[in-house]
């Protein structure tokens, strides 16, 4: 909840009235706001390093909202998108939702609808960011392991007993126990299931 509140709403709408009113609305509930009159203006700006949600007008000069959404996907800029449009039709909204939009609102919309959608977007973005941060930390911990410890860790999470590991690596059972304790300490795993989960998450990224 807290991270969503301190998020930043990005608005791209060519219409001044819409831009200003949305900006005021989002600020009134405590969001930070950055407003842009065109897709180009948005792309030339450095995005803030906090949870973001993009409120995008479908009808824009030069590059339309839908094209802009595709461009963001192409650039791998992962940001939840809430579309707003003056005259939405079904094919348009289907295209937007398929491309990953979280909501498609027709102007004039109820304020609660757009606030809910933006809140959802910010929460999603916050969760995505947190996951990235956690993964980075795990990678750091993994980097501290020696080559031998990594071998031991792989066999431990594969479910083998110390005796089997010792036989497989040609080590004494006591040495394996030492390595195993080091792995648990360095990976900050409090139990074997913890360690299994960490390794699982790391391997899912590689």
């Amino acid at each position: 909840m807290m991270e969503a509140e301190t998020g930043c709403v990005l608005i791209v709408d060519d219409d001044l009235a819409m831009r200003e009113s949305l900006e005021s609305l989002f600020r009134s509930v405590g969001h930070g706001v950055l407003a842009f009159a065109s897709a180009q203006a948005f792309l030339s700006e450095v995005l803030p390093q906090r949870p973001c949600c993009l409120v995008l007008d479908v009808r824009l000069p030069q590059m339309s909202g839908l094209e802009f959404q595709r461009e963001l996907n192409r650039l791998r800029i992962q940001i939840p998108v809430v579309f707003i449009t003056g005259h939405g039709d079904v094919p348009m909204s289907v295209a937007a939702m398929k491309a990953g939009a979280i909501e498609f609102l027709t102007k004039p919309f109820r304020d609660q609808d757009v606030l809910d959608a933006v809140h959802r977007g910010l929460t999603m973005d916050a969760a995505r960011r947190q996951a990235l941060i956690d993964l980075g930390a795990l990678k750091d911990r993994c980097g501290q392991l020696t080559a031998r410890e990594r071998q031991v860790m792989a066999l431990v999470v594969a479910g083998q007993a110390n005796k089997q590991i010792a036989a497989a690596l040609g080590l004494s059972e006591v040495t394996v126990k030492g390595h195993r304790a080091q792995v648990m300490r360095k990976m900050q795993a409090s139990s074997l299931p913890d360690l299994v989960r960490f390794v699982d998450r790391l391997s899912s990224v590689d």
Partner: protein, 534 residues
């Protein structure tokens, strides 16, 4: 509409100059072409009776078809004159049957021999019937007035007349066959006419003369013109049949006369078919043109309503969101007071903007904007530019006029067209905002193009439209101006297309944009689309 219908139908349409020249030319060619035959006209062609049934069949079919087409014309137009003429064709056509059957030596094999005088009696009746029908036609032709019959009753009348004619032909056949001995002696033998026959061609020629005279005096339609040709050819025919050939049946002159008879019988049919086909083609063309105009208008209407909806819904959506934001700021007590005030100010601003859009729409369709009149476009341009003068001065824009002399008037609505010109001029002034002041030049030009169109060009020295945006600017004009009314170009195109013209944009010399529109010249009965839907 009645006058329109009459003006297109063959029985009322005036002949073209080409037809007026063609008719006497055909007659002259016939006379000149046939003169060489005269010296050999009396040479008999023995055994040519065998061709007679074919000839009779051709005449029968041609005259029946002509009669049917004329009856159809009567049902459509319901003038008695055409009914009389059609019946004339039907009667002479049907009489060909007993005439050919009774012709000596033709159907001997069938055992038909109806007596020496029957053929000549039927032939002379045919001769008399046709000019009488034409004279009757010419006499009642000018009678106009309300249509006396509905279409079904006209059709019933036609049926009755046809039945009466059939009965009459039957009676004639019976009388001439059974009462053969009581008939006047017109023939000396199967080949040669008797002295009494000489009265027939003389009377018939007199009737033709009367018919020609009446048609000449009353004649003004396509049908009249060609009927005169028909009667004239018939006159030549009878001269050949009775005088040039010396009244000798199956001689060269006699056969020439028969061929002339066939030509004469076909004339009205050919004219009817030609006129019908041409009318049909014209109709198809005008229907297609009408459909194109309607489709263009519908798409313009759709685009216009979408633009208006967008232009109104945008500030309205802004107002609602601002109001919601304002309420939320107020909930936060004194902290949010300044923010709530700012939101209310934006609501006022956006409300005015929506109001302006509505006022613009009303101005476009206010009472009086539907009237179409002959307009001097140069005067329109000057009036419109007068309104933009202050604006141009404020933006330090030089306005150049290049208005052609001798423009034809266009059909249009002054209020709307002045709005188009001033819209384009305001856009041009707006577009040059970023330009250095000395280079800001707006030129407006009028020209004649293709003899019947007036073209107006409004050109600026601004940055021009980005490539690929030229067409878009007509749809979503709001994109290029941060605070503009947005509907300008869409309106302009809509109005110009409603006037039967075209509006487009191209790149001017240098960098600016050049907006051009054309309008068709004024026409008395201009079939311009009206605003109200069809």
């Amino acid at each position: 509409m009645d006058s329109d219908r009459g003006g297109l139908l063959i029985s009322a349409a005036r002949p073209t100059d080409l037809q007026r020249r063609l008719a006497p030319a055909i007659l002259l060619a016939l006379v000149l072409g046939l003169t060489p035959v005269v010296p050999v006209a009396r040479i008999p062609l023995v055994g040519t009776e065998t061709f007679l049934p074919a000839y009779a069949a051709a005449v029968l079919v041609v005259e029946l078809v002509t009669a049917v087409l004329l009856y159809a014309l009567f049902v459509a137009q319901r003038g008695l004159a055409v009914l009389v003429l059609a019946t004339g064709y039907l009667l002479t056509g049907l009489l060909v049957i007993p005439w050919a059957l009774s012709f000596p030596g033709v159907f001997d094999a069938l055992g038909i021999d109806m007596g020496l005088q029957s053929t000549a009696a039927i032939a002379s009746l045919r001769r008399f019937a046709f000019p009488v029908a034409v004279i009757w036609y010419a006499l009642i032709k000018d009678r106009t007035g309300p249509l006396p019959w509905s279409e079904p009753s006209a059709a019933a009348l036609v049926a009755a007349v046809i039945i009466a004619t059939l009965v009459l032909v039957g009676l004639i056949t019976v009388v001439t066959t059974l009462g053969g001995h009581a008939l006047p002696p017109l023939m000396r033998d199967a080949r040669h006419v008797a002295a009494l026959w000489s009265a027939v061609p003389a009377t018939v020629l007199a009737l033709y003369g009367v018919a020609l005279l009446l048609l000449w005096r009353r004649g003004c339609s396509v049908l009249d013109l060609w009927l005169m040709v028909v009667v004239a050819i018939l006159a030549i025919e009878i001269i050949f049949l009775s005088y040039v050939s010396g009244g000798i049946r199956l001689s060269i002159g006699w056969w020439v006369g028969r061929v002339l008879g066939l030509i004469s019988a076909s004339t009205v049919l050919v004219v009817l078919l030609t006129e019908t086909t041409m009318l049909y083609a014209r109709l198809a063309r005008s229907v297609a043109a009408e459909r194109r105009i309607r489709e263009a208008r519908i798409s313009a209407m759709e685009a216009l309503s979408a633009t208006i909806a967008h232009e109104v819904s945008q500030p309205v959506a802004g107002m609602i969101t601002n109001a919601n934001a304002g309420l939320r700021w107020l909930d936060q007590g004194s902290v949010g007071q300044a923010e709530a005030r700012a939101a209310l100010e934006r609501i006022v601003r956006d409300g005015h903007r929506a109001g302006e859009v509505v006022a613009g729409v009303r101005a476009m369709f206010q009472p009086g904007t539907r009237a179409r009149e002959a307009l001097d476009l140069n005067a329109c341009i000057r009036d419109a530019m007068e309104r933009c003068r202050e604006e141009a001065k404020a933006h330090r824009v030089t306005v150049q006029f290049d208005l052609a002399d001798g423009l034809v008037p266009v059909t249009g609505n002054q209020v709307q067209l002045e709005q188009v010109v001033s819209n384009l001029a305001m856009n041009a002034i707006e577009a040059m905002r970023e330009q250095p002041a000395p280079g800001r030049r707006l030129s407006i030009r009028s020209r004649m193009v293709q003899d019947d169109m007036v073209q107006v060009a409004v050109e600026d020295t601004g940055p021009g439209l980005p490539a690929g945006q030229a067409e878009q600017s007509f749809l979503a004009f709001h994109t290029t101006k941060p605070d503009g009314m947005g509907m300008g170009l869409m309106f302009c195109r809509f109005v110009v297309e409603c006037h039967g013209g075209r509006l487009w944009v191209e790149r001017a010399e240098g960098d600016g944009a050049r907006f051009l529109f054309t309008l068709p010249r004024f026409q008395e009965e201009a079939s311009l689309p009206q605003e109200e839907g069809a």
